[in-house]
Chain length 649, copies 2
């Protein structure tokens, strides 16, 4: 790896080394389109909605109660409720003026609850509460510091060393003192502190924060945490990061930990550690990831399942795991430059992160099922919803980690679009954007990206400013494209087919030059590895990076999605308004409908389907489902007619 030159951009992740250098929020602006609309809603609705719900739930008041000495009787919410405030402060740090008065007020509130030695948690340590660090497995104290520190780093990078940054540093100093080589020999049940400490080291240049993160990583995997009914794998405390072959246990915990491991590996030059995480990412993506990019198939422990256990109707696919997967992929992309990490990030952003919030930004999915079998009720506006429910998006949850995690991710999203290296600029994600940065040697460059992606597949990149030396513009060509359908049109109008991976143009660019990438966002069938037993005999549809689904509101009245049969001998086609139309039929309720017992000796082959029964089935982007009231929905659509019913058996 190569040292990155010192720089002070507004970045969530700023490694000192690695293949690629990220561009910050001061260098990349998203100006519209798919993500522009969502970022606008995030800034104008979601953050305020979350602050409001935090206040109503009493979680904001916990800080005040702590400052006033009455938190032992007045505290509300789960043990990790403090972290939601920190995630919102991080989101505000990326999106608001550094002198925003609301940010300042909440910062003061948080700071008022900090104890003189830097300890800060409203659930532990005061008279009448459990002692500090008396429950490392479930207490989430270090996890909460992680989000506090990330919020502090956001403030440092966006506006300098304000009160939040100081609070975060005091907390980090306390952690180093309490958990250093001569302190408590423990780790937190929920990782998160590791990435935060590395980022603070990067932001401050203080190596001891990095050392503390490395120490937490070394300690984990040796059974320091209590065994549980889920096993120590739940906490990733079953084996050291260096030794594991696949991500396992609680999905968000696993992905946060892996992100921290990449951060430590990059900063310390630990190639073995980086290779271990890459190996785990490879196996996890090959065998434990939903088509949407979603991770974690168990409801019980919010964990990864065994290889290929990916049931659509019991998909957990927590929104926070999607956020965490993007965090991990981005770090691996920066470290290695390999576009497959950007491929997975794109898939996860469009199909998990974008699926969670409602159009108005005031309701969210916590779990992201791929098959909804019955129409559910409208979640109550006035109280918390169960997190695992997946009928309609809910305004708030008793465990409400996902809304604030979406908020901070959308707030920082421009920083995940583009990078530089000594050769030039790399575009990884496509959105309407303006990019202004300096190439090696401080040569200024400015680009404008215009695209209706993912609705359309054209991406135009106009050069607004460029040095009069040759440099390279690199464009990711998604893995789902194919050579004969994917084109790069150069400034000279020359059109060349490009293959999945990276398309590069190296030349002396002139202001006004325009490149155009043409991606084949035509809909296509998708089949699963036969080891994904739960979707045998079905197909899904993708269009560009978007996964599609059938939703009952698009079927004739009285039909639910389980009646859909698709005909794989035909091809999916574009419909109006970003819909896709697939050939198939709506099966009548099977004769088994009222059978007393659902298992039978099979009868003859399927009855032929009369032409009159054939129907076009309209599919919609998965991220948009459940936006039109209660519905049933499925991503994986059966192809075969069932065999003729036999007799009860």
């Amino acid at each position: 790896m190569r040292e990155n030159t010192a720089r002070s951009s507004i970045l969530p992740v700023a490694p000192n080394r690695g293949r690629l250098r990220p561009l910050g929020l001061d260098e990349v602006k998203i100006t519209g389109g798919f993500w522009g609309r969502r970022r606008h809603t995030n800034a104008t609705a979601t953050i305020g909605h979350c602050l409001d719900r935090m206040a109503r739930a009493g979680w904001t008041g916990n800080f005040r109660a702590a400052a006033e000495g009455r938190v032992h009787r007045d505290r509300r919410g789960r043990e990790f409720a403090d972290s939601e405030m920190y995630k919102l402060l991080e989101a505000m740090g990326w999106t608001r003026d550094p002198h925003d008065s609301e940010t300042a007020a909440f910062t003061d509130l948080v700071a008022s609850a900090q104890e003189p030695d830097g300890y800060l948690n409203t659930a532990f340590g005061r008279p009448g509460q459990q002692p500090r660090y008396s429950d490392l497995a479930w207490g989430h104290e270090l996890y909460c510091y992680g989000h506090l520190i990330q919020a502090g780093v956001a403030q440092m990078r966006a506006g300098g060393e304000g009160e939040l940054a100081k609070t975060a540093r005091r907390a980090a100093d306390h952690v180093c003192a309490a958990f250093g080589p001569h302190g408590i020999d423990g780790v937190c049940g929920h990782p998160g502190i590791e990435t935060a400490l590395v980022e603070l080291a990067r932001a401050t240049g203080e190596e001891r924060y990095l050392a503390q993160a490395a120490l937490f990583l070394e300690r984990r995997g040796h059974g320091r945490l209590a065994d549980t009914e889920f096993g120590r794998a739940y906490f990733q405390d079953d084996m050291p990061v260096l030794e594991a072959d696949v991500l396992r246990g609680h999905a968000v915990r696993a992905l946060y930990l892996a992100s921290g491991a990449v951060d430590v590996a990059v900063e310390t030059g630990d190639e073995d550690l980086l290779a271990a995480v890459i190996r785990q990412w490879d196996a996890t993506v090959a065998r434990r990831t939903y088509l949407t990019g979603g991770m974690g198939s168990h409801h019980r422990d919010e964990s990864f399942g065994d290889d290929f256990v990916l049931p659509p109707d019991r998909a957990y696919s927590e929104t926070c795991a999607g956020v965490a997967s993007v965090m991990l992929s981005w770090r691996l992309l920066l470290a290695t430059g390999d576009p497959r990490y950007a491929d997975l990030a794109e898939r996860t952003l469009f199909n998990v992160v974008a699926t969670s919030p409602s159009d108005d930004g005031r309701a969210f999915f916590y779990a992201n099922t791929l098959h909804r079998r019955r129409r559910g009720a409208v979640p109550p506006a006035d109280r918390d919803s169960p997190r695992a429910e997946s009928s309609l998006r809910a305004p708030w949850f008793a465990v409400s980690c996902c809304p604030t995690n979406v908020a901070r991710t959308l707030a920082a999203l421009p920083a995940y679009l583009a990078t530089t290296d000594d050769a030039g600029i790399q575009l990884h994600q496509y959105a309407d954007a303006e990019i202004t940065t300096a190439l090696a040697g401080r040569r200024a460059v400015a680009l404008t990206v215009r695209t209706d992606y993912p609705s359309g597949g054209g991406v135009a990149v106009r050069i607004d400013r460029a040095p009069d030396h040759p440099w390279t513009l690199s464009l990711r060509v998604p893995a789902w494209t194919r050579g004969a359908t994917t084109w790069l049109v150069g400034p000279d109008g020359a059109r060349r087919a490009v293959a999945p991976g990276t398309a590069e143009v190296t030349r002396v660019f002139r202001p006004g030059d325009e490149l155009r990438l043409e991606l084949p966002v035509t809909p296509r069938w998708i089949a699963a590895d036969p080891r994904v037993d739960a979707v045998r005999g079905t197909l899904a549809v993708q269009r560009g990076p978007l996964v599609y689904c059938a939703e009952s509101v698009d079927l004739p009245a009285g039909h639910e999605v389980d009646a859909v049969r698709v005909d794989p001998s035909g091809e999916p086609a574009d419909g109006p308004d970003d819909t896709v139309v697939v050939p198939g039929r709506l099966s009548a309720p099977a004769p088994e409908h009222d059978a007393a017992w659902p298992y039978r000796t099979p009868g003859g082959p399927p009855a032929a389907v009369p032409d009159a029964d054939r129907a076009d089935i309209t599919l919609v982007p998965y991220h948009s489902w459940a936006g039109r009231g209660p519905s049933t929905m499925r991503v994986w659509l059966p192809t075969a007619e069932p065999p003729s019913p036999g007799r009860e058996s």
Copy 2:
């Protein structure tokens, strides 16, 4: 319904009304065969093993600690640990001499912990503990009484009113006082008290126990219990029993409650309540039951899933839910005489209850998965196992309800074989047995049943003693038989085809007369309703009532069960030693094996399978799986070759 004549047999369930009258342990002896071997192991190994593990876990000592006033600091185990002792005392009540000294010793121990007002629970109510009934939702106090009362009833019926019966009556009197119409207006989070109080009313003739059970049923379903993240359906407190259309929530809770509802309905003549439970049973069996009879598909809350959510690899199918399902089906059979309840009981006994214990009776499955994807580790002998693990049977669990539930069920099993009515005797389950009872008018009758069922399909019933009047012998003909293959051979040697349901012979039987039922236990393919998405494109095999499975130990070295493909154009055939052989092949690892991403645009049709690749696949009874060391296993076997792999997409 018709009043049953007063009688005092050794019975777990003795309704005063109903279509059929059960025969007790003093009337039916199991003398050998499949269930005889298991009952012998249960009596000679399992009960002692459980007592030993109870002692080692400290759960026995809880009673001593309570009597000695130190339970607040010395108590071990979960809040419901007392109930395991009661279940064992029930099992001992059915199998041992009423004056057995070990039973007496444990009875004294239990009684010593009872408080003067009848309250008895080692987890609540003493100084330093939570107050009595302060946590009805999760405290399990009434649930524990339920098992105590059942044990007391077993003793009353087997040997008269001893100390255990007195302890149980004191507890029941306390419950009536504490939770009566003017007492606490609450219900227990875990049903179980309802069946027990009705049985105590039946055993004692005291109507107030029945009234208390009816009151608990009336109270439930109106939100008296706290809401949880699983919803109130978890406790069946979401709607009254009378209104529900299907069983839902925690499976054991739901089945215990439904059993109690049948008991109350039968005793009070409440036809609406009985009809409600029948409606719920119908829907649950048609849409929420595994091929094995297993119920409950969610690991998270041990609950029923939505209709047709029956994933084999995430099947929970708790052993206790199997026990509870047999309890419910038996009650409905007695009430209605409908043989379909005996059909489900048979399926559940052979494929869930018989699956749980190991051959030596000292290890158990808590969950009964239908697909095991990786070979697991050998459970530790010296500590408790997680209940949801399903690699190999484990000696004990932190939540160890299943071993003791298996013990009491096998102990009482003869009482589930046969019934009488005014017309004669009905045989519902087939096992080597001797039956001696009196028909209406006290006419003595004795039968001997000889069978190698379910290995073979012949059941011989010899009349050893009979009155010289005509009476009817009824034999259940399982739903999986078919007319042209199923025969009843009369005492005169006449052979007639019989259809699923009930075959009857009415005549004046003479001692030495023999009837023979010939059931077609040839193996057969089973297909699932297409709405069971998780098994689309697969077949299972049943032989008689037994579900079969592929297990890796029967495959050539190096193969796991996921390589099995079966050929539905062929037929399964008998193999040696109760195995079944099915035509198929072992697929080579698919080319996707090392794909970076498991979803692809499909390629061409499946490659033709060379004859050389075809192989016979050996299947074994599901109940026997995991008896030969760690293995992979699956019940549902894919039929189709996967399509040719396409390109990454």
